[in-house]
């Protein structure tokens, strides 16, 4: 995948790797989403944070990045970081060890997670690329927030998966969290960002990524 000429690796896990910068980006971790619902009486299984962090650990181990950007909505609500189990807190610390870690503010977590390491930013620009949580459609922008997913009608059946959405000028990343569903890339929110229906879905398969025109998805 390229964005304004910069070569980026879209990983099948939903993470994005910029090898030139040794930079790994993940978006919408929504940590402690389960316990967030539990506070409202909906007792979702409390394993989501551990599951998300385990997947993150795998992709961090694979690329060994110098810098990790969590592209906003890393926590499902403002108090989520305080509800982290000790083991999950340790897991985050282990991931952060020896590398720069940047929490981009999201609408779910506008304030920095005080109890955790890492620097905090509203947005960040590296070369021609700017990273922010909510997409604006600007050139060179990599954002999250929308949780893009694609439904591909294949010969056998319809397959529903998370995906990257990109038109070589900007990209929207899939959500990385265990409990985060998605918004169809045919929703008008995407048309607004890409300014035309002419963009591409990088669909997350089980073991590989599949590039399919958005107009072929639902």
């Amino acid at each position: 995948m390229t964005v304004v000429g910069v070569a980026l690796t879209a990983d099948v896990s939903g993470a994005l790797y910029w090898s030139e910068e040794r930079l790994l980006v993940v978006s919408d971790l929504h940590l402690e989403k389960g316990s967030s619902f539990a506070t409202r009486g909906i007792l979702l299984p409390p394993f989501d944070t551990a599951a998300t962090l385990a997947r993150l650990a795998a992709v961090v181990a694979q690329y060994d990045p110098r810098t990790v950007i969590a592209l906003g909505d890393s926590f499902h609500d403002r108090d989520a970081h305080e509800r982290l189990a000790e083991t999950d807190r340790d897991a985050i610390a282990a991931l952060q060890a020896g590398r720069d870690w940047i929490w981009i503010a999201g609408n779910h977590d506008p304030l920095p997670p005080k109890s955790l390491r890492g620097s905090v930013a509203e947005e960040i620009a590296i070369g021609a690329i700017s990273f922010r949580h909510e997409p604006t459609g600007a050139e060179g922008e990599i954002a999250g927030h929308l949780h893009p997913k694609a439904r591909v009608v294949t010969r056998a059946r319809a397959i529903d998966r998370r995906c990257f959405a990109s038109d070589d000028v900007r990209a929207v990343m899939p959500s990385f969290g265990a409990y985060t569903g998605g918004l169809s890339i045919r929703d008008r929110a995407f048309a607004k960002i890409f300014r035309s229906p002419d963009f591409t879905a990088h669909v997350l398969g089980d073991a590989s990524l599949h590039i399919i025109a958005a107009s072929r998805c639902y």
Binding site: P46, A50, R157, H210, Y218
Partner: protein
């Protein structure tokens, strides 16, 4: 005669005169139920449609209440609790349909008015205004007609003990239909509570004929709980209600259409017989045309109107139509204005439709009892035979129809056995109990086991379920502070806060609808690309359609809905936009046979029919020829054996087998077989299943592989496939995820409706599929996953049946290597391309879709 006379003495003069004035005499079973009620015995009445079942059920109530009215009055009316009073609720009637409750209330008004009985009858359904519901709790009627969900709500209110303390009788209508689902589980738990609140209450069940009446009769009485310490000493005889069987009226006259047309090899449309169906409607006064799926109903209805030269009044009725439209059809039907109604199982249950003189069943009958109940809809008079004509849509369905007709002639029944109570329903009930009055675990455990479906419930399952209701039941104990129910210092469980109670009220019930989308008719936007932007909102509402059906469509596809061919335009939130299409032929949705698989019993009969050549003479000539040809070219399966054929075709190699166990079990088998063939390097590509057979295709030469011993068929079909292979598949199975979603909703893990929101929220804030994935990985023995597994045994995956089949055929597999497709294999081969193909990995399919695009782009 003596018994009859003495029973007849039970009938007070007032009632005798009323019967006489109507020119009726009480039927034997009506008097028998009166005698049972007098002896304070619970009873199960088995009677066909039209036997006066409802009156039989209510007669004891009417008699008792008329006598109570004559006794000296000292009725204490009080809104206070714990006040001993006369009067109060006497009889609780529960039916599966709220429309039925309303219908029965209307029917009861007549005897009550004509005998001038001082009896107040009221209904209570989801439609009953809040003010009346509140009043009913304080000042209940004598007879309350309601549904299982409303009963659950009443029990969970603090007024429960007051309201039901006076209860004398419970009448359960259409019991055979209620007990086959989780609603039956919920009802049984409600009954267990009523047995405690009103220890003297007796129950009367009204049921169509079932295979095991003895087992059904257990449902009506509290089950005996053996004392925990009494080793060896069983709790004595099983607790059962008495059984009253109404003499079955005239046996029905059932025929199979011997079509003059070419009998199709496959498909479910029965289009070949359209003119013959039309003729039947024309020759009779009012016909019900039953089909198995909504889409079939749509298509037949549309086709009939295309040839309706006499403009016969033919209507359409199915569950997805707009309610107003359904009511219109029902009213026209009751008024005798219709000549034919094309309908699905939405008309299976007991509302009286007036005079129907013919039932036409299009397609597979699926089960003998099911078919008999449908046929019972024709002619509600007992002494005249019901008439039915069965229209098989393909050759296999001819065999199924023949087997069903033979079964009906023998009055053989194939209703399913009584369910084992589901744990997700138990969870809902436990929450309901906590919403009422605080309970001790020991007490509630003993109470719920008095319900027949839960008689065998283990203490550990019960405790796990309580734990689930309280804090989610997770190994990771992090939700103690969010507990929904908590134990007080006496150990009693009570609701933690009022919001929990509100949420329970909003979400009670076990009917989990498929995710439905509203269908709206708009003007076509030619060349539209399916974006949700440009379609004008608004449009006429046509009804609702299953989301998974729409998911399989592409923009521009046409399908039949609401009796017209429509074109799929766009999808936006929970609405599907369609336009009127001018096409005559739609790309008709073909989700094959509908929800119900072929019953095990009928499947067995079909296998025997096939194996017994002398019985073939009762089959149409076309079918006889087909089977004879099969005998010459390959083999017709014997009653116990399973024939497996392998042959090449079109550059691929096929394996076709004939388990006759229904589409659901075959689909599961197909999933597991392809996994095994994959491991055996046969390179399977996909499979397709119908009710009778399964076809798998592969790149590898299957015939050669069997010959060389590289595929061992006995090992391929070994029951051990239900071990690790199944586990691996369940991790990703969409059907399993659908099953889990239902359990998650019923158990109250995931609310359908949120407190403070009027409308149900379609856009769930999380996906149950993702919850399933996470839970399965981290706590595979969680109580909800156990509940989902139990459902999978009989539901969408039909695992139990598959297991039974694999055991049955073990050692009886007969292989035929052929050089081409056999006659018996043609029907399932024709399904390829019409039905969804399973078994292929998502990555391959996505890669293929991507590659196709590249090809398009390169010209």
């Amino acid at each position: 005669m003596n018994a009859h006379d003495s029973a007849s003495d039970l009938l007070p003069d007032l009632f005798r005169r009323w019967f006489a004035a109507r020119g009726w005499s009480p039927r034997e079973h009506q008097l028998a139920l009166l005698a049972k009620a007098n002896a304070r015995r619970s009873a199960l009445l088995i009677a066909p449609t039209g036997a006066g079942k409802t009156l039989a059920g209510f007669l004891p109530t009417l008699v008792e209440l008329s006598e109570r009215a004559n006794a000296p009055k000292s009725k204490v009316k009080s809104t206070g609790r714990g006040v001993v009073r006369e009067g109060g609720l006497h009889t609780l009637y529960i039916s599966p349909l709220k429309a039925l409750a309303v219908d029965i209330a209307r029917n009861l008004e007549r005897p009550i008015a004509e005998m001038d009985l001082p009896i107040r009858v009221e209904t209570r359904t989801g439609d009953t205004p809040v003010s009346r519901r509140q009043r009913q709790r304080r000042d209940p009627p004598d007879i309350l007609l309601t549904t299982p969900e409303q009963l659950a709500l009443l029990i969970s209110s603090a007024d429960g003990p007051y309201l039901f303390g006076s209860l004398k009788r419970i009448v359960l209508d259409e019991l055979h239909a209620l007990v086959t689902s989780k609603r039956g589980d919920l009802l049984s738990l409600g009954l267990a509570r009523l047995f405690r609140l009103a220890p003297d209450v007796i129950a009367t069940g009204l049921s169509a004929t079932v295979a095991e009446p003895e087992s059904l009769s257990r449902f009506l009485v509290p089950q005996i709980i053996p004392p925990p310490s009494a080793s060896g000493a069983s709790g004595g005889e099983e607790a059962k209600a008495d059984i009253v069987i109404a003499s079955g009226g005239a046996p029905p006259i059932v025929e199979m259409l011997d079509t003059k047309e070419h009998l199709p090899w496959a498909g479910h449309s029965a289009r070949h017989a359209l003119n013959e169906i039309y003729d039947l409607i024309k020759r009779n006064k009012t016909s019900l045309v039953f089909v198995n799926t909504r889409s079939q109903a749509e298509m037949i209805f549309q086709d009939l109107w295309r040839i309706n030269e006499d403009s016969l009044a033919i209507a359409l009725h199915h569950g997805s139509l707009d309610v107003a439209q359904r009511r219109k059809v029902e009213d026209a039907m009751a008024a005798g204005k219709l000549r034919g109604v094309v309908c699905t199982s939405s008309l299976d249950l007991g509302i009286d439709w007036g005079d129907i003189d013919l039932v036409i069943n299009v397609g597979a009958p699926k089960g003998a009892s099911r078919m008999m109940q449908r046929i019972g809809r024709a002619n509600h008079r007992l002494d005249e035979p019901s008439r039915a004509v069965m229209i098989p849509a393909n050759r296999f369905e001819v065999l199924e129809c023949r087997a069903a007709i033979d079964a009906i002639a023998e009055n053989a029944q194939d209703t399913p056995p009584l369910r084992t109570g589901a744990l997700d329903v138990l969870a809902q009930h436990i929450m309901g109990c906590a919403c009422g009055e605080p309970f001790l675990s020991d007490d509630l455990y003993n109470e719920v086991r008095r319900a027949a479906p839960y008689a065998e419930l283990t203490r550990s399952d019960f405790d796990d379920t309580v734990d689930f209701v309280a804090t989610g039941g997770y190994a990771l104990k992090s939700y103690e502070r969010f507990a929904r129910i908590k134990q007080d210092k006496d150990g009693k469980w009570r609701v933690a806060n009022p919001r929990v109670r509100q949420s329970y009220r909003l979400n009670v019930g076990t009917i989990v609808e498929e995710q439905m989308l509203k269908v709206k008719l708009v003007r076509s936007r030619r060349g539209g690309s399916g974006s949700t932007g440009a379609i004008g909102r608004g449009g006429r509402m046509l009804g609702e359609i299953e989301e998974y059906f729409i998911e399989g469509l592409s923009v521009g596809d046409t399908f039949v809905f609401g009796g017209e061919v429509v074109r799929y335009e766009a999808l936006a939130e929970d609405q599907v936009y369609v336009s009127r299409a001018n096409d005559v032929d739609a790309k008709v949705p073909s989700y094959a046979g509908g929800k119900f698989p072929l019953s095990t019993y009928l499947a067995d009969r079909v296998r025997h029919l096939l194996a017994d050549k002398s019985a073939w003479r009762n089959l149409p000539e076309q079918v006889r020829d087909w089977l004879s040809l099969q005998t010459r070219i390959s083999r017709v399966p014997g009653p116990r054996e399973m024939v497996v054929e392998t042959f090449p075709r079109g550059g691929r190699h096929f394996l076709v087998c004939y388990p006759f166990e229904g589409r659901l079990a075959h689909q599961t088998l197909g999933m597991l077989l392809t996994r095994r063939l994959e491991r055996g390097r046969a390179r399977p590509l996909g499979f397709v299943a119908n009710e009778y057979a399964l076809a798998v295709w592969a790149v590898g030469d299957l015939s050669a592989m069997v010959r060389q011993g590289r595929i061992d068929l006995a090992a391929l079909f070994d029951p051990d496939m239900l071990g690790d292979d199944l586990e691996a598949w369940l991790a990703e199975s969409a059907l399993m995820k659908r099953t889990f979603r239902v359990c998650a909703i019923i158990s109250g893990l995931i609310p359908r409706r949120f407190v403070g929101e009027e409308k149900s929220r379609r856009q769930m804030l999380f996906s149950t599929d993702l919850v399933y994935d996470v839970l399965r990985k981290h706590q595979p023995d969680h109580v909800l996953l156990r509940a989902a597994r139990a459902d999978a045994a009989t539901g969408l995956l039909d695992l139990k049946r598959l297991g039974d089949m694999l055991t049955r055929i073990s050692g009886h597999i007969v292989h035929r290597a052929l050089d081409r497709v056999s006659p018996l294999a043609v029907p399932v081969m024709l399904e390829i391309g019409r039905e969804a193909v399973y078994g292929e990995a998502a990555d391959e399919l996505l890669a293929e879709a991507a590659a196709e695009l590249v090809k398009e782009a390169m010209g």
